[in-house]
Structures are given as C-alpha cells and as structure tokens.
Symmetry: D3
Subunit: 131 residues, 6 copies
C-alpha cells in the first residue's frame, strides 16, 4: 500500500540526494537509515523533517545523549518498533551505557504506571505546582 | 465516583502515616502531594508505588534532573495533566532551566511526529540496528 | 467549535427521543447522561452507538461489573476524563467496591508499566504463547 | 493464545457466511480480509462491526477517499500495523494518490507533534474557540 | 511549572514579533492563538513550528478543510483538549459542516475501535495489502 | 541496540537466579518467560517488577482471571504485541473461555470508540458522577 521500498542514492532525485548528502556529512556516516529512504518518497517532508531533526537534536542546553534518551523514552511509550531500534542505537552511539539504559527504562515504566494512577484516582493539581 | 477527596495526615491510618512520613523525610518537604493523598485510599498501592518511585528516582547512572525530564517527556506524550504539572515542578526543582525545558519539549514533539512517520511509511528496521 | 451544548428531551427530534426513551427504560433512569445528549447532534451515531453499547454491555459470559471494570481500565489507560467519571460511577453502581477499584487500578498501572518494559527491551514472543 | 487462525468460508457457520456474503457483495470482492476471518470467532461482534463499518464508511457528507484517509490517520497515530496496511490499501483503492498520501502523513506528523507541545506548555483554550 | 502565561505582542522580542506578524498576515487575523503565545517562550521552536505548519497546512493535493479534519481526527484520538478546540474551530472556519463533523467523529470512533480488535485478535496482514 | 538476547538460568547471576526461582515456584512452571529473561539485564528492575507483579496479581477482591483480563484489555489498548500474547495466554490459563475473550474484546473496542466520541464532542462531566 505504502511507497514501495526505499529510495536509494542511486535512484534519488537531485533534491533528495542533497538531503542525503547533508545527513551523511552531518552524522559522518556512509549511508542514511531506512527512515530517510522511505521519507524520500515525499521530498518536501524529507527536507523539512531532516532540517527540524538537525536543529532540534544539536547539543545545546541538553547534550546529545540526553536528547537521544528522551527520544527513546517517547518512542518506547508510543510503542514505535522502528524508532525504539533506531534511537536505541543512536543513544548508545551517543554514550548511553547499559546502566543508563536500565535506569531510563525503569523511569519510563514508572511514569507510564503513575500517569494512569493519577488519571484513575482523578487527582486534582496541587496549587503549589501553579506557583 | 472515585475515592472522595484526599486523605490528609490527620485522618490517615498508621500505615499511611508511615509512608507519608518517609516521603516527607526523603524529599525534605512539609506535606505530600495530592497524588499520595489519593493513593492513600489503597495503602498497599501507596506503599508499593512510593517504594518503587524512591528506588527508581534515586540518582544513579542518571542524575535526578535527567530522570525528572524523562518522566516529564513520558507524561507530556501521554497527556497526563496532573503528571505534567507535578513532574514539571519536580524537574525545575531538580535544576531544569527554561532553556532545558524548551529543548526537552522540542525533542518530545519531534519524537511524537517521527514515530508516526515511521509507522505510516512502514519503515523496516535497518539490519545495522540489530548488531 | 463543537455542537453547542446538550440536546435535552424537550428540544429533541422524535428519532432522538426514541433512543433516549430506550436508554432510560433499559437502565431504569430518569434522564440520560451528557454523553448521549451530545451524541444527539448526530442521530445516526447516537442510535448506532447506543444499540452497540446495549448489546455489548449486556451480561453474558462476563457479568456487568466485570464489563464496567474493563471499560474503566481502558478509559484510564486512554486518559479520557469523562469516561473515567461515567464508567467509574457505572462500575460502582454495578457492584465494584473500593477494594475492587483499588486492585483494578493496581493492575492497570502495572500493565501500563510492563507494556513499556516489553517494548523497550524488545522482548520476542515466547513460542509457548503461540500454541 | 488468540483464536487459532482465520475462519474461512468453507468452515464458517451460516451466520458468519451471511456476513461474509454481504461484505463481498457490498465491496464487490471475491473474498474477505483476514480482519473479518478472525472476528468470525465471535459472530455477534463480526455482525455488529460490519454493520457499523458499512453504515459509517458509506459516502455521505464526506466522500469515500476522505473517510479512508481519516481512518488511516487514526491508525497511523495508534500504530496499528494491520490497520495501516489495510486502510492504506483501501484509501489508494478509493483514489488516494501518492501526493495525497504524502500530505496526509505530513499533517498526521505535525498534529502528533503539536498535540504534545500544547500539552507540555499547558496552553489554555482561547475564549474565541468556545464561541 | 511551565512558562508563566502567554507572551503577548507588547512584550515580545523582535524575533517573536516577526513570527506573530507572519501568522497574522498569512491567516488574516488580528491576533495569534494562545498556542503561539506560549511557544514564544522558546523562539526557535516557535519559528520552526510555524514554518512547518505553514508549509504542511497549505492547500496542495489535499484541500484546507480535509487537512484540518485530519488534524482534528488525530487530536481527538490523542485526547488533546486544546487541539480539539483549536482545530475544531479551524476546520469549521475552513468549511466543515455539522454533518461533516458528525461523519468525521463516526469514522474516528470506528477506527479507534477496530484498531483494538485487530490488535487483540492478532490479525496477520493479508498478502494482498503488500502488493 | 538493546541488551543482546535473553539471560538464561545457566548464565544468570545469583541475584537473578533467586528471582527466576521465585517466579518458577510461585507460578509452578519449569522456566520463566522471555520478559523476565530480558529484564534480567537490569537485576534491580527484574526484582522490583516481579515483586510488584506478584503482589498485584495475587487473588484478592478480584480473582485471577479478572485481573488477567484487565491486564489484557490494557495491553490491547496500548497495542503491545508481546503483552497481548503473554497475558492472553495467562488469561486462558486462568480460565478465560473463548466466549469471555470475545466479550472482553467487544468491550475494549467499544471503550476505545466511545472514549474518542467523548473527547471529540467535548462532553462535560455530569454533576451526578461527582456525588
């Protein structure tokens, strides 16, 4: 049903190749992930998504590994298999150790549990949080 | 429908008071949040949840502010109003600056967007991620 | 933005009144909940939804309180405030005690936590589950 | 764990065959999808679900392709692999072009991103939206 | 916890004012919604989000009302109150009638139901969908 | 990306073996499921999660099959494939018949549908539910 297969560099348009080249240059990699090869079926979305990711994931007030762990926490919560695999790999590459991954998962699990306890018990927001 | 109102220290059982006392001691606060006052309607869940949170949120391979930011990222993704307010406050107390909050939200937003792009384009997992 | 306010019996069309009458008769109540008064803005959806609910929630292999607790578990997981309030009330009316509510919430919390642990650790399905 | 395999026409009960026949007649197809062959394990759910889908998906104020694209947008947001594949195929059959799919995905991605930005920044509803 | 209140034009920086001006010009409105006044606490996110929304929501292969209805379908599925109110208003402004809204909600409801039926019955993807 | 493969009894640490032994003893089984073999990569999470599950899933005000059905309802709503398979198997082992499963799925489907109808129609909570 969806775009049939990835678009590789060889059969990509100049506009798509330009984005692939920037991803490879920025990330110092030889080839882009499947995510980009599939988004390439819609060049404007490919370009916009890459430029946003490039801006958002650049180290700033938060370092690269913290940003990748937050990305992974969201992906695990949403149950996105591809994203869990890709951002899990990215987080490790950025420096996430097994111990950090274990603690990240423990926090993600507890947050998903207590989010529901707060919903079910219909807990009103403490005035102190609004200060 | 749900337990009617919070259980305050004054009308709490000894078992509940013991948990409230440990929360106040551990967090160096004068009173516990509404979340605990509502969970107090089920003492075993109050005790188990507090002991788990206490263990999981203690600084380890990840520091306190990173853990609170991950908690907030999950709560924002799930749309839990109470949790967004309480863990937003906790993250700031632990040292999250406005700049860190801004970058956290930018990452959470992008992750929620790309999780759906990966779903919709049915992107297969790259063999490299399995290594 | 959405349909402005509830449609009450007094200003309802004959088709809507017929559904309201059946809800009141079936549930032995004097008036219908807001949910039905808002769905009344789309009579076909009102009729179809009520007929489905009436069929699905009737006691069968599962009794009424078990069905209401399952409904509540889903509503808590989705964070639907209206549904948590209405099905929490319905579950209590059907016989859910405070102790049952406490255990229900504990299971819902654990399920939401372990669902994410299974996602994050990318646990493969045991062959035994396929038998 | 779940009903073991699909129920095909050959081994279906008269009640199930009647629904399969109506699906094939309505959609002008030779066989029904796996979704219906698995729901057939619960004939009342099979019948109720088909009758609801038949009513809801019929062209009305919205045409068939718009309805299938909305169905796909929800399925992508929920991460339902089967539904993304089946309603992606149905949307294309109803006339969704690659360009329409690309724009649909771009909107779904942005909506999932901004839903979280609105949650995290705790944005209050503008009075103008209530008019 | 979160940025305290909206940033209005009067107390906005030149960078924020430039985005507000473009939103007002593009949408032909006198003032921007709260969503933008809160995002203004993080100027880079305000600018990037507006530029993405402006590009994604512009009529193309899909018209404006279809795009707003898809946005609303996702927001309803995620339970984002602010987004339901704002995109419901935007969809009506773009031409969504009450009848169209009613059918949209019926499709969103059915999709959320059948997504879970497909999950629970563990329905395998039909080979025909992969063609 | 994630911990590579399961940790089996043979290569488990004494702390992990102690948990595996308790799971096998409590559930009267010869080996633990993959879920536990993967959590074993983080012994504190393995221990805490097992002790919580053991306490929460023990029969009390709710019997074992009701608790497993609630667990399954949440897992189906979240779309967790592993959890749907494992808790589906556990629910059947605890006594869930095909008829009970069929009704469970029907309720889960309706709840997910009406949760969105309540969101989209922005239905206010009835005062009666607050009593």
């Amino acid at each position: 049903m969806t775009p049939r297969g990835p678009i590789n560099y060889g059969n990509a348009s100049p506009a798509v190749r330009a984005v692939f080249d920037d991803i490879k240059r920025t990330r110092q990699i030889d080839d882009v992930n499947n995510f980009w090869k599939y988004l390439a079926h819609d060049p404007p979305t490919l370009k916009r998504t890459w430029e946003s990711i490039k801006e958002v994931m650049a180290p700033g007030a938060l370092d690269a590994v913290t940003k990748e762990m937050i990305y992974l926490a969201v992906s695990v919560t949403n149950g996105c298999s591809y994203c869990i695999a890709s951002h899990g790999a990215a987080a490790r590459k950025a420096g996430m150790s097994e111990a950090m991954f274990g603690e990240l998962m423990a926090v993600v699990g507890m947050a998903n549990e207590t989010n529901r306890l707060a919903n079910g018990y219909r807990v009103p927001i403490d005035p102190a949080f609004e200060k």
